[in-house]
């Protein structure tokens, strides 16, 4: 009987404890970034964290009057780190996908960059024409929304090759092992167009549901706060100012 009372009181204490964390007021928010991913998040030569998403996070924290701590976390450990409570939110260009939404809670999307086709100079392929793409060898980064698009839309038409890093992909494009590369436009701009002999092929394609802030599924109150704040920033011009600082094109969503 005594044991039962102890067990019951323990359970009560636990419940009270979890109720307390539920009622967290989110005065402190830890946000994770994977650097470098220019121009979204990277470090300046003097070591300061900067970039589009970092600036947006700062504006959001100021708006929420929250004390934000920025955490650097490599991409592979992002979702596990969030679930292990090493930080409370991810603002590191995480595209919203149904598979990820199984694991985490996404805010409303706050940006979307188009995917774009890249090739060697002189490449003349109509990328909107499935006949012209037939049999071409296309490189994508494994697990990206670009990968999903090419696999689902052009799976039987083109030959898909999946890479871990964009650098390996550029090497194979250079060596003519690939006819085309389909990547996130800003990534392609940084890694492919920065070298000689490459060009954008056709028009960029808007893909996916965009990028959102990822949080733990139970933190619905944090999601509500962040959604409200993002909406405010998008409407009062703060978002546009930050966007113009980093992009020559529209990524707003």
């Amino acid at each position: 009987m005594n044991r039962l009372i102890v067990a019951a009181s323990c359970a009560l204490a636990l419940m009270a404890g979890s109720a307390q964390t539920q009622a967290k007021d989110w005065k402190d928010i830890r946000i994770a970034f994977d650097v470098p991913y220019e121009p979204f998040e990277y470090k300046t030569p003097d070591g300061e964290l900067t970039g589009f998403e970092v600036d947006l996070a700062r504006a959001m924290c100021k708006d929420l009057k929250a004390n934000c701590e920025f955490v650097i976390q490599s991409w592979d450990g992002m979702i596990p780190g969030l679930l292990a409570r090493k930080f409370d939110a991810i603002m590191s260009s995480m595209s919203i996908t149904p598979e990820r939404a199984e694991q985490v809670l996404f805010s409303e999307p706050y940006y979307n960059t188009p995917g774009a086709w890249f090739g060697r100079k002189g490449t003349n392929i109509d990328v909107t024409d499935k006949d012209a793409l037939k049999g071409k060898i296309v490189g994508v980064q494994r697990g990206t929304t670009m990968d999903t698009y090419v696999t689902n839309e052009l799976g039987g038409i083109v030959q898909v090759k999946r890479y871990t890093t964009a650098d390996d992909m550029v090497l194979d494009l250079e060596a003519q092992r690939l006819d085309l590369v389909f990547v996130d436009y800003p990534v392609g701009e940084q890694t492919i167009l920065s070298k000689d002999g490459f060009t954008v092929v056709g028009k960029p394609v808007k893909l996916g549901e965009g990028v959102g802030v990822a949080m733990r599924k139970r933190d619905k109150d944090l999601a509500a706060k962040i959604n409200a704040s993002l909406k405010k920033l998008k409407n009062n011009g703060t978002y546009d100012t930050i966007m113009k600082k980093y992009f020559a094109y529209d990524v707003k969503m």
Partner: protein, 240 residues
């Protein structure tokens, strides 16, 4: 039973018909790659081992350099050098060689063949050197020529001694082939990486593939045990 399987597949998120087909094509690629490189490597390594045991330095020297180089560097580096190295040779894209080396399969096969041939050469050489001197003397006394001695006495008994060490090499090769996925080959590991990055489920994707590798390894061990029993049956203790 088939109904149970289809039901299970329909309710499971990760192991659907599509991903299982992806694993299957990965399995086919792995088996092809490993089998071909082992066969070609074995065929190359017998004459190389004979050369390696020669007393003439001009014959044994180059083989020594080759085995030293390929056993002294990681297979991953060899694969990178061959795959990316071939691509930067000037003008290769315009020759017929590019038809072969454009796809990642043949550069990987070349790297694997060169690597396994180097190890197998040393395994066979070691077994050849261990031939009892008396057997060779007896063969000489019968008036056998060098080639006949090699064919009838040295190589068959070396093969018996080498088979255990060689079975390890075969298993190592199977496991080493997992690195083929770094040059975009969709082998078993490549398939697991694709599925992992699609569903963010590292355990399901990689444990499934580990079980397939394990099944392959046990099949190999079983076959080699049969072969050993056959080759070494003269060493079996007599039944009472």
């Amino acid at each position: 039973m088939p109904e149970m399987i289809t039901n299970w597949l329909n309710t499971h998120e990760i192991f659907t018909a599509t991903t299982i087909l992806h694993y299957w094509s990965g399995l086919v690629t792995t088996v092809q790659l490993v089998f071909l490189s082992l066969i070609i490597g074995l065929v190359l390594s017998v004459p190389l081992a004979v050369m390696r045991t020669s007393r003439n330095l001009l014959i044994s020297g180059p083989v020594w350099v080759y085995t030293y180089l390929f056993r002294g560097t990681p297979l991953l580096i060899q694969l990178y050098v061959i795959y990316y190295g071939i691509g930067v040779i000037d003008g290769i894209q315009d020759t017929f060689w590019w038809d072969i080396f454009k796809a990642p399969f043949y550069p990987a096969l070349l790297a694997f063949v060169l690597n396994t041939a180097a190890y197998t050469t040393e395994i066979i050489r070691g077994a050849m050197v261990a031939t009892p001197q008396g057997e060779i003397e007896a063969a000489k006394a019968y008036g056998m020529s060098w080639f006949k001695r090699l064919r009838r006495i040295v190589l068959p008994s070396a093969a018996r001694r080498a088979v255990q060490a060689y079975s390890n090499e075969v298993i190592f090769m199977l496991h080493a082939s997992a690195i083929a996925s770094v040059v975009t080959i969709v082998d078993l590991t490549g398939a697991a990486r694709d599925i992992y990055s699609r569903f963010y489920a590292p355990f399901d994707a990689f444990i499934a593939v580990a079980l397939i590798y394990m099944a392959l390894t046990f099949t190999l061990i079983f076959c080699f045990r049969k072969l050993e029993r056959h080759l070494l049956r003269h060493l079996k203790p007599a039944n009472g």
